[in-house]
Amino acid sequence: MTRLTRVPGLARAAILHFLFIVAQTGLAQSLAPVRIAIIDPQSGAFAATGETAYLQLQFAADYYYNEHGGILGGRPIEIVALDNKASVADTQQQLRRAISEGIQVVVSGNGSAPASALSQAIERHNRRNPDQRVLFLNYAAVDPALTGADCSFWHFRFDSDSDMKMEVMTQAIAANPDIHRVYIIGQDYSFGTAVAASATAMLAGKRPDIEIVGNELHPIGQVKDFTPYVSKIVASGADAVITGNWGADMVALARSIIDAGLDVPIYTFYGAYDGITATLGEAGKHRIRLVHNDLPNPLTSEEHIAFNRAFKARYPNKDVTQPRIATALKMLVTAMEKTGSTEPFAVATAMEDLRVTNMDGEEVWMRGSDHQAFEDLHVSVQTDEGIVFDADNSGFGLLAELTVPARETVRPSTCQMTRPTQ
C-alpha cells in the first residue's frame, strides 16, 4: 500500500509534470534535483485541500525556478506528493519514507494534528540523526502552539496563526454594530478549541456587549449532516457565526445554515475554493467571510496577476488559493542560494529573520525567535461584484474588505526554542 501513495487523482498533473521534466532535462541534465516532499491528504474527506496545495507548490517550483534553469546553479526542484489521508499515523509513516529517500525538506499544512506530529517527529529525528536532518515548512497549520509552547527549530510557519487571524476577525466583527450575539462552532481538535478560546477572549476585550450564545465542537470529518447543529444556532438567536471548519466540514456546515434560511454572516478561516464557493454561490454572497493572508481581489501586482493567469492556463479547474506557498518556496530557495547548500541546519539558520518580497510586492518577515512569518492579513467576503479572479469558475470570488498590515499583526513570541549547536 505504501508504494501507492501518489494517487491516481494526481495522475494528470503527474504526467504533465513528467513531460515537463523530460523537456527540462536538456537544461539540468547532470545535476541532481532538490527534492521536496509535500505530506498532505491526497485522498479521503480532505483530499481537495491537499491536492490544491500540491498543485500550487508544483506550479510555483516550475514557474519561478525550473523554467529558469533551476536553483543552486542548475538543479531542478522536484516535488513529491505523499498522501497522509489527514491522519497522524500516516503522516509519521510518510515522513519516514521521505527521510529514507533522502529528502531534506518537508512541506505540510492541512491540519494542526498531523503538523504537530510532524514537528515533534522531525525534532526527535534530527536530534538523533544529525547527518540526516529534515526541515519542515508549514504553510497552513495554524495552532498557536506550533510556534509557541511546542515550537521547534526545524519548523517554519508561513501562515498567520489562529490567534493572529482571530485578532483581525474579531476586529471586523467588533466594527459591525449589527452583531450582538455570536455562535462559535468548530471541529473537535486542538485548532477548533484554540479558535473558540481566542474568539471568546478577544470579543470580550473588543466588544464586551457581544454575547457568546453557543460554543460547540463536533467531531472532525464525521458529521454527515449539520442540520441539528444549525437548529441550535437558530434557537440561540445568533446574529453571526464563527467557525474554523475546513474542507468538507466547512461546506456542509455553510450549506446547512443556508438551507435553514438563517441569514447571518459566517466568519470563517477556510470558507472558499475547492468547490465550496461554487456550492454556496448566490446564497453565500455577502454572507461568507474569510480571514486569510492571501489577497484574492482586487489585485494590483503585475506579478501576482501573471502568476494567477499562468496557473489557470495549466489548471483551468483549479484556483491559486494560497500564494503564500510560493512565498514559502521563495524563502527556502533564497536561504539555499545564500548558503549555497541544501543542508537543513544551514538553511534553517539562514531563514531566521530573513525578509523576502512576496508576489504582491509586500515584504514578508520570518521572525527568528519562533519561526513565525508575518504578512498582511485580510478579511474578504464572497461576492460576484468586482471579482477578477473568481473561485471554482463560479463567477463568485473573494473581495478584500479589510486589510491589516503585517506589522500590526505581530504578537509577542512565547517560544522557548532549544537550538541545535551545529
Binding site: P8, G221, D225, P228, K232, V234, D259, N317
Partner: protein, 316 residues
C-alpha cells in the same frame, strides 16, 4: 428548547429514511446472498456523482431516474462478472472482494471527478422553504426526500410480499435449493437483487448529494453507519432496517440537540468535581460530543445482549 427538538425530530426522520434507502439494499443483498457488501456506500457515492454529471445535461428529474438505473446496471455487472466468480471461494473472499471494490470506486471517483466538492444543487422546482417554524426554514427538497423514501419502503414491502417476483426472491433467501429445483434461475435472481440493491443506494446518493454535499469522502462518512443499522435491525430484515434507520437518525439528531453533559448528570446525582480534576476530560463530555459514537455504542450493546438484532431471525 421545544423548537430545537421539533427540528431535531424532523431532521432525524429525513436522515433516518435516507439511511433506510441505503440499508434496505444492503439487507436485501445480505439476506439473499449472505454477502456483507462493503462497497454498498460506494454505490451511494456513484449515484450522487452520476446524477450530478447527468443533471448538467438533462436537469435533475431525468437524472433522478437515470443515475440509479446506470449504477444499478453497474452493480449487476459487478455481481455477474465479479462476485459470482469469487463466490466459489466462500464468504471471506466475497467480503474481501467488496472491500477492495470500495477502495477502487473511491479512487476512481476522485480521479474522474476530482477531489473538490461538486456544485450539485437541488432542482429549482423544490428550492424553496416549505414552511418556517421558529425562524428556521424546512426546505421543500427535504420533504421530497421524505416522500420518496417512504414511497420506496411501501413499494419494496409490497413488491416483496405481494408480487410473484417478490415471492420467488423471498423463497430464494430461505430455500435456495428448492427454488433452483423448481426451475428458477437462481444466479439471475442474485444478479437482479444485487443490481436493485445498488440502484437503491444510488437513489439515496442522488437524493442526498445536494443536501449533504457531493465529495469523495461521502461514502466513508456514511458507510460504517449503514452496517450498524443492518446489524441493529437484524441482518436480512426489511422492517428491522426501517426501524433501526429511524432509531439511529433520531438518536443522533436528538443527541446533538440536547445540551446535557456528564457534569449535569453527576450534578444531578449530587457529585461535583473540581475543574482541575485529572479526569476532567471525561467529566466534561457532553451528549452532542458523543452523538457520532452513539450508534456504535448501540451496536456493541445489541451484539452483547441480543445478537440477532431487533427483527432478525436467529440462524438455525
Amino acid at each position: 428548547m421545544i423548537d430545537v427538538l421539533i427540528f431535531a425530530t424532523l431532521n432525524g426522520l429525513v436522515t433516518g429514511l435516507l439511511l433506510f434507502l441505503l440499508a434496505s439494499g444492503l439487507t436485501l443483498i445480505f439476506s439473499m446472498m449472505g454477502v456483507l457488501n462493503f462497497a454498498h456506500a460506494s454505490f451511494y457515492m456513484l449515484g450522487a456523482y452520476c446524477a450530478f454529471s447527468i443533471g448538467q445535461y438533462t436537469g435533475f428529474w431525468p437524472a433522478l431516474i437515470l443515475a440509479p438505473v446506470l449504477v444499478g446496471g453497474f452493480g449487476a455487472l459487478v455481481e455477474r462478472y465479479g462476485l459470482r466468480h469469487v463466490h466459489k471461494s466462500g464468504h471471506v473472499a466475497e467480503l474481501v472482494f467488496t472491500f477492495g471494490l470500495a477502495f477502487l470506486i473511491e479512487q476512481a471517483v476522485q480521479s474522474f471527478w476530482g477531489a473538490d466538492t461538486k456544485n450539485y444543487q437541488p432542482p429549482a422546482l423544490l428550492d424553496f422553504p416549505l414552511f418556517t417554524l421558529f425562524g428556521q426554514d424546512f426546505p421543500a427538497y427535504k420533504a421530497f426526500m421524505l416522500l420518496v423514501s417512504i414511497g420506496i419502503f411501501i413499494g419494496l414491502y409490497w413488491g416483496l410480499t405481494r408480487t410473484r417476483t417478490g415471492m420467488i426472491i423471498q423463497a430464494a433467501t430461505s430455500h435456495p435449493q428448492t427454488v433452483a429445483n423448481l426451475g428458477h434461475n437462481l444466479p439471475l435472481i442474485h444478479t437482479l437483487v444485487f443490481g436493485a440493491g445498488s440502484a437503491l443506494a444510488a437513489l439515496a446518493g442522488v437524493l442526498a448529494g445536494p443536501v449533504l454535499t457531493t465529495f469523495p469522502g461521502m461514502a466513508a462518512t456514511l458507510g460504517s453507519i449503514v452496517f450498524v443499522i443492518v446489524v441493529i435491525g437484524g441482518l436480512g430484515s426489511l422492517t428491522g432496517a426501517l426501524v433501526a434507520s429511524l432509531l439511529i437518525g433520531l438518536l443522533q439528531s436528538w443527541a446533538i440537540a440536547v445540551d446535557v453533559g456528564m457534569a449535569d448528570l453527576l450534578h444531578w446525582v449530587g457529585v461535583e468535581f473540581p475543574p482541575d480534576h485529572p479526569l476532567k476530560d471525561i467529566w466534561r463530555l457532553s451528549l452532542p460530543q458523543l452523538a457520532p459514537v452513539l450508534p456504535y455504542l448501540l451496536l456493541v450493546l445489541m451484539l452483547i445482549f441480543h445478537p440477532s438484532g431487533l427483527f432478525g431471525k436467529r440462524e438455525g
